[in-house]
């Protein structure tokens, strides 16, 4: 059975908005923010995302796990970019100002030897990337906590997707927390058989193979669960004709205003980017670090 995100009713300005307007706004923010590397502009987007988060009256306690998870992902990605230099050198800057050279370092697990040049550009790019990813994820994680799960399907239908795709999106949204629950049950069941995931050893392939006791049951359960869902839908005549969506969504003035703001920001961002504004910003004081 699919479970839902930890949604609860809150009488906030964010929850009173039409979910379609919120998704459109989120998409406009996403497509705007990815056009910039300038930390000053990215901080404005992060500010908008945090404003939405606080207006939704979400607490640290209820979102703690999500914050920890996305922070781990963002920090890993940013660190990798910083050490490899890939990403930035291709898109954001062409020359680098060296601060210090580290190395050669030996990478754990694979044992590769690498030298790392610490440059002003790499540092500024890493910070910008961090802010950019936080701006996007904070904007996105607010949605599952504040959109009624019963409205997922009708929201996507209202955004123009056909019935079947809209309901598939509804199921897919709820599939994520369901997968997390199944994973936790399987982890507990295997721990009760003396399995300790934290004590995995050997090379990468060996370690992945040793994850089978966790990955196989979760995957098989997801497949079997999907078959159950299909049977349950078939038994209640899903997809045989255009369906009625019993919940109705109507745009209020504030929703239209939000969409307009979103579109305006996107257009403005596109124009600025086209004019070459918003590329990686290197503060003069940071350049002074360089040798």
């Amino acid at each position: 059975m699919l479970i839902a995100w930890r949604y609860r009713e809150r009488d906030t300005i964010i929850q009173r908005l039409d979910p379609r307007a919120r998704i459109i706004f989120m998409l406009t923010m996403l497509f705007s923010v990815i056009q910039f590397w300038d930390l000053r502009i990215l901080l404005i987007f992060l500010g908008i995302a945090l404003l939405q988060f606080f207006l939704a009256k979400l607490t640290w306690r209820e979102t703690r796990r999500a914050w920890i998870l996305i922070s781990i992902i963002i920090l890993v990605m940013t660190t990798l970019t910083f050490f490899t230099g890939r990403g930035g050198i291709q898109y954001a800057y062409t020359e680098e100002h060296l601060i210090r050279q580290l190395g050669p370092l030996s990478l754990p697990i694979v044992g590769w030897q690498i030298s790392v040049n610490i440059t002003v550009e790499k540092i500024v790019f890493a910070v910008s990337q961090l802010v950019r990813m936080y701006a996007i994820t904070v904007m996105a994680i607010t949605i599952p906590y504040t959109v009624n799960p019963s409205l997922y399907g009708v929201t996507f239908r209202g955004l123009g997707l056909p019935d079947k795709f809209a309901y598939a999106m509804d199921l897919a949204f709820r599939f994520v927390p369901t997968l997390a629950r199944d994973f936790a049950i399987t982890r507990d069941a295997q721990r009760a058989r003396g399995y300790e995931v934290e004590k995995l050893s050997g090379g990468i392939i060996a370690q992945i193979r040793k994850l089978a006791p966790l990955l196989v049951p979760v995957t098989i359960n997801a497949i079997v669960g999907a078959e159950d869902i299909i049977d349950a839908m078939d038994l209640r005549a899903f997809g045989v004709r255009p369906r009625t969506w019993v919940h109705q969504l109507t745009y209020a003035r504030v929703d239209k205003f939000l969409i307009a703001i979103g579109v305006l920001i996107f257009v403005a961002s596109t124009v600025l980017a086209f004019m070459g504004i918003g590329r990686l910003w290197l503060p003069a004081w940071a350049l002074a670090w360089a040798q």
Partner: protein, 542 residues
């Protein structure tokens, strides 16, 4: 061309063989169902009950492929010529596990789902949903999230989702399996009301005793895919095998007295009564702050065979997970052989305490049953010889010998369940803990493996969580009743289960076996299974 009969459902010479099987799942099945008739279909696993239901509701041949012959007529029309949407308006299906059927995030959207698919106007959908919720007495659940409902509530909500489409035939596939006894009684009363209101009901259930309370109009007993009996309830009582389906205790006592009693001698002996697991003032609250266990004190001792009973949500599983250290108490402590579970890992506790989870599919992963069974002992660092010996003993204990080279995930649910229990047995734990060991198992199988486990030497104590009062009567020497996160009763079955007010509070319903045991307690001195009771009474007469 439509053929007119007087029956809402007519099954004629139906045979179906799944594409992947070598034998037909059902063979030459024929019967009619009258309007407002409640037909009980009984039989053990593999008798073809579920395949029959799939043939009637249209999933066969649409979703499950194979060779089908014979006909299913719905209101006189051949079902093969009807669209699935038309079939779903005539036939409603409630599956064994409501969790596999509920799709909506909230009760209202769940009940409205089928009506939305039929494209009905919004006002009519709202009206039908509210009418159905009122009829089932669950209007108060309208805005609740479905995943937060209890088992009984989920069952009623899945029934509501089907009834809202106003079918005139209802197929109920073991609808009592996941319910506590009181919820099962409520569900049964509801089915009777529906039949009295004119709905034709086909109720598949191997716990025949439970279904008797609603006086089925007719009984169909299936064996090996064929109809072995079709007739009245009284006749069925004499024909059905009481080891394959669960019959009322007086019937079993009468019939079992004439056949030899199978040997059963529990291996656990209460020598020394040393404490093995001690729960000291255990309180547990989830991250959200909700406290689910309130100050529990309990000691599991050497020689105990404990049945933990109580309604859904009473905290049974939460309490027991503390014993293996998967949960740590918010206050108080749990000692396993004298060591605080906070100070040792789950893997260390697993040397002493084997824990069988409720759902086998959450733990089975290996390419073969043998490797699956060796996984736990390997993790615990057993020698190759000890692993081999443990695996062999476990294979025999749960009757899965012959399946060693099969992938566990390709087995039937009942076989998977037994493999999951064998996987823990192979670890040679002193204490065996099982969460709902009989869930999803047919009567014959769970009696067989409970007999076998209780007779397996090596355990110092066994603890199992169950909804089945008779399981506690037959196998436990101690019963713990839980209610609302606390222990409401703890003692020998003959002491605790005599308090009917307490049973009612814990949503348990006295069974015919309990009543028969109470009636003869002065003779037997302890609770016995129906077969053992029959022989005890015969011996006394002699």
């Amino acid at each position: 061309m439509a053929q007119f009969t007087q029956f809402p459902l007519s099954v004629q010479n139906l045979t179906f063989q799944y594409r992947t099987r070598e034998q037909p799942a059902i063979e030459d099945v024929s019967f009619d169902l009258h309007a407002g008739e409640l037909l009980l279909v009984a039989g053990s696993s593999g008798c073809g009950k579920t395949t029959l239901i799939r043939c009637i509701n249209g999933l066969i041949p649409r979703s499950y492929k194979g060779t089908l012959s014979g006909r299913v007529l719905l209101n006189g029309e051949d079902a093969s010529g009807l669209s699935l949407s038309r079939v779903s308006q005539i036939v409603g299906t409630v599956l064994q596990d409501p969790e596999r059927q509920i799709l909506g995030a909230h009760v209202f959207t769940e009940v409205a789902f089928g009506l939305e698919n039929l494209g009905l106007p919004r006002d009519e959908i709202r009206q039908r949903v509210d009418e159905t919720l009122d009829f089932l007495g669950i209007a108060h659940l309208r805005n609740r999230e479905t995943f937060s409902l209890s088992g009984g509530e989920k069952q009623k909500v899945s029934l509501a989702g089907v009834l809202a489409m106003r079918p005139n035939i209802l197929l109920l596939d073991e609808p009592l399996a996941s319910l506590d006894p009181a919820s099962a009684q409520e569900a049964l009363a509801l089915f009777r009301r529906l039949a009295d209101a004119g709905v034709s009901i086909l109720l598949v259930e191997h716990r025949v005793e439970d279904a008797l309370g609603i006086r089925p109009d007719r009984v169909l007993f299936m064996r090996d895919g064929k109809i072995a009996y079709d007739g009245s309830l009284d006749g069925a009582m004499q024909v059905m095998d009481y080891r394959q389906v669960k019959l009322p205790a007086p019937v079993v006592i009468e019939r079992a007295a004439k056949v030899p009693l199978p040997a059963f001698e529990p291996a656990i002996k209460a020598n020394g009564r040393d404490p093995l697991v001690i729960f000291e003032d255990v309180t547990f609250a989830y991250e959200s702050g909700a406290e689910v266990i309130h100050g529990v004190n309990m000691t599991l001792r050497q020689g105990d065979v404990v049945a933990i009973l109580g309604p859904n949500g009473a905290g049974k599983t939460t309490l027991v997970k503390h014993a293996i250290g998967l949960l740590k108490p918010s206050h108080g402590r749990v000692l396993v052989e004298g060591t605080d579970t906070r100070k040792i890992s789950v893997a260390q506790i697993a040397h002493t305490l084997g824990y069988v989870f409720q759902s086998p599919s959450h733990m089975l992963y290996a390419p073969t049953v043998r490797e699956e069974l060796a996984f736990g002992p390997k993790n615990l660092g057993f020698s190759a010889e000890a692993i081999e010996a443990g695996v062999d003993a476990a294979l025999d204990a749960v009757n899965v010998r012959g399946l060693e080279s099969y992938p566990p995930l390709s087995l039937s649910f009942g076989q998977q369940k037994r493999v999951s229990i064998a996987a823990i047995l192979a670890m040679h734990s002193k204490i065996l803990v099982m969460d709902e060991p009989t869930a999803g198992q047919d009567y014959w199988n769970y009696i067989a493996f409970m007999d076998s486990i209780l007779q397996t030497p090596g355990f110092s104590a066994i603890l199992f969580i169950t909804h089945d009062l008779d399981l506690a009567i037959c196998y436990a020497n101690r019963v713990v009743l839980m209610h609302d996160g606390q222990i409401a009763g703890d003692g020998a079955p003959a002491e605790v289960l005599t308090d009917f007010d307490l049973l009612e509070r814990c949503r348990l319903v006295p069974t015919s076996l309990l009543r028969a045991n109470l009636e003869h307690l002065s003779v037997t001195g302890r609770f016995l299974s129906a077969e053992a009771l029959a022989h005890a009474l015969v011996d006394r007469k002699r």
